[in-house]
Amino acid sequence: MLLANWWDLRTLANPVDSLLGWLRDHFPDWVAYIVSGVIGATAIGLFLGVAMLLLIWAERRIVARIQIRQGPNRVGPAGLLQPIADALKLMQKEALTPREADSWLFWLAPLLLFIPPVLTLGVVPWGERMSVADLNVGLLFIVAIGSVIPLVIFSAGWSSSNKYSTLGAMRSMALVISYELPAVIALLSVVLLMGSMQLGEIVRWQQDHWVFGMFLLPVPFAVYTISALAEVGRSRADVVEAESELGSGYLTEYSGMKWGLFYAVELANALIFGGLIATFFWGGWWLYGLDNFIPTWLIFLVKMLLGYWIFVWARGTLPRLRIDQLLQFSWKFLIPLSLLFALLVAAEVVIWEESGVSDLVAVPVMIVANLAATVVLVVGVVRLLGFRRVQQPRRATLTSEIGIINRAVARPAPSAPFDVREPGVAE
């Protein structure tokens, strides 16, 4: 930053810092403390409110475009007032509470589900020196909040006193828990490389080394994106709302604005994961020196929306996976892959520090080495698990004959231990 005057809006920290400095000069300390908290909370609340309204419209239009149709275009110019119409409709609906339901929990669950997105947004660096609370354990804080979400999902499902809701809640819990592990191990690679759990430090590391995290850590980037997709419950992993299977899962009994709150929280979660991917892997608010001219918070917003757009893109194009396919993918593929890559990154960090090589040499070498390692690891893990591609199938073959890992038919015990490969049809 060249100048640090209050009108330098490249980072909104400048006007806020000037205001807080003025408050400290004229009032006791606690006034500035409370005002800074209020500013942060109001900003996040405003952002979430506006974002959710816009994103409902944006998502429906984008998905419609992918499906070669127009989205909402009746209410307001180009359908821009559609979210407001939705909100009004939901508010005037009768919010039913089942008679057998645990009414206190039933009412509390949507509210509790709203807390993790807001808390996560407090730790994320929106721009230079622009986090509400840049905790030194910011990354672990985000993981800890993410681990509370299954509990809230469970209380939502169970308090509906509906077998399908409970089943859907358990399935959703299993899904979220299974995909937390690869996400956390991917973030472990990030922490190992960048040496800090503080999100502001992670962005600054990428700035100092003039590289995006994505180039240095391709496997954690892919693993984290896939895990985020599954954790948020978007397609391809939206078994939660697989209406043909579970009739809307843990959301079944919720009507009216409670359902609207769940839906909005799902969108907010997707947006926040986009923001986290931008922070860890796309350089956060930094953009190769362009952040001296463009406001940093604008850069971060664009990156966050880019991450969100990837999720919407996946929703519009990819089909849904079965729950056992999803769980197997997580436990048997993503976790070994991300663990092996974390080992590799740890070794690289030690070699880098011990040899004392300068950054200019080390970073390109690491980029190339990690890319090669990615290819080797992915191909290796796939081969090890016994996936076998059917080359140019000439006739329809049964799944049980090809021997792919998501076999749905039980078969007799094999002769050798862990022999997933099966004499299939040689094409």
Binding site: V143, A144, S147, S155, K163, T166, I323, D324, F418
Partner: protein
């Protein structure tokens, strides 16, 4: 003075929350409400750790206790029959109260009589580096032993859960023939069965 006021507010508020949650666990009739109140008390404990400037421990408390142990207890409760989920009155309420009171008196006496080391308030370094340094330098052996213990627990859990390994022979009457317990066979695809909690007799 403002800082002390903040810390005092935090401590008494969080302490009250933890105690109220604990009383709620004992007094509520619904077992699942008890579990959720337990999780609330875990979160209050995390807040108390924060007032002691233990940032990593506080976040780890939320992650491990509220996130993992809470979920574990909920899954365990879902596997129990619905009839035994009532936290009913017992004969032991009076004796339990007396025993709890005695334990509280002893612990309170010890807490007040111990000469605690006090530290000046103020800024602190992040504890993550210190904990990591301790775990890998001075306390490396207990760290490794703890990880071996966890692996043993996981293997034990897997062995307990694998009731019908494909290598075993099913009797016509429906029993299971004796097979060596540690025979390694192919990992069975669980599918949805493991997630249906209304008993293993359902198809």
């Amino acid at each position: 003075m403002d800082r002390d006021l903040g810390v005092a507010l935090g401590f008494w508020g969080l302490g009250a929350l933890a105690v109220v949650a604990a009383f709620g666990i004992i007094l509520t009739q619904n077992l699942l409400h008890a579990v959720l109140l337990l999780i609330l008390s875990f979160v209050a404990m995390a807040g108390l750790y924060l007032t002691l400037s233990a940032d990593f421990v506080a976040v780890a408390q939320v992650l491990i206790y509220a996130g993992a142990v809470g979920v574990l207890i909920i899954f365990a409760i879902m596997l129990t029959p619905t009839s035994s989920r009532i936290n009913a009155d017992t004969v032991f309420f009076g004796p339990g109260l007396i025993l709890g009171g005695l334990v509280a008196v002893v612990m309170g006496y010890v807490a007040f009589k111990t000469p605690w080391d006090t530290v000046e308030g103020g800024g602190f370094d992040s504890t993550v580096a210190a904990i990591g340094d301790g775990l890998t330098n001075r306390w490396a052996l207990p760290f490794e032993i703890a990880s071996v213990l966890l692996i043993a627990a996981m293997i034990g859990a897997i062995v307990l859960v694998r009731a019908d390994v494909p290598g075993q022979v099913l009797h016509p009457e429906g029993g299971v023939a004796d097979e060596p317990a540690m025979e390694i066979a192919e990992p069975r695809v669980e599918g949805d069965r493991a997630l249906v909690t209304s008993g293993r007799t359902d198809a």
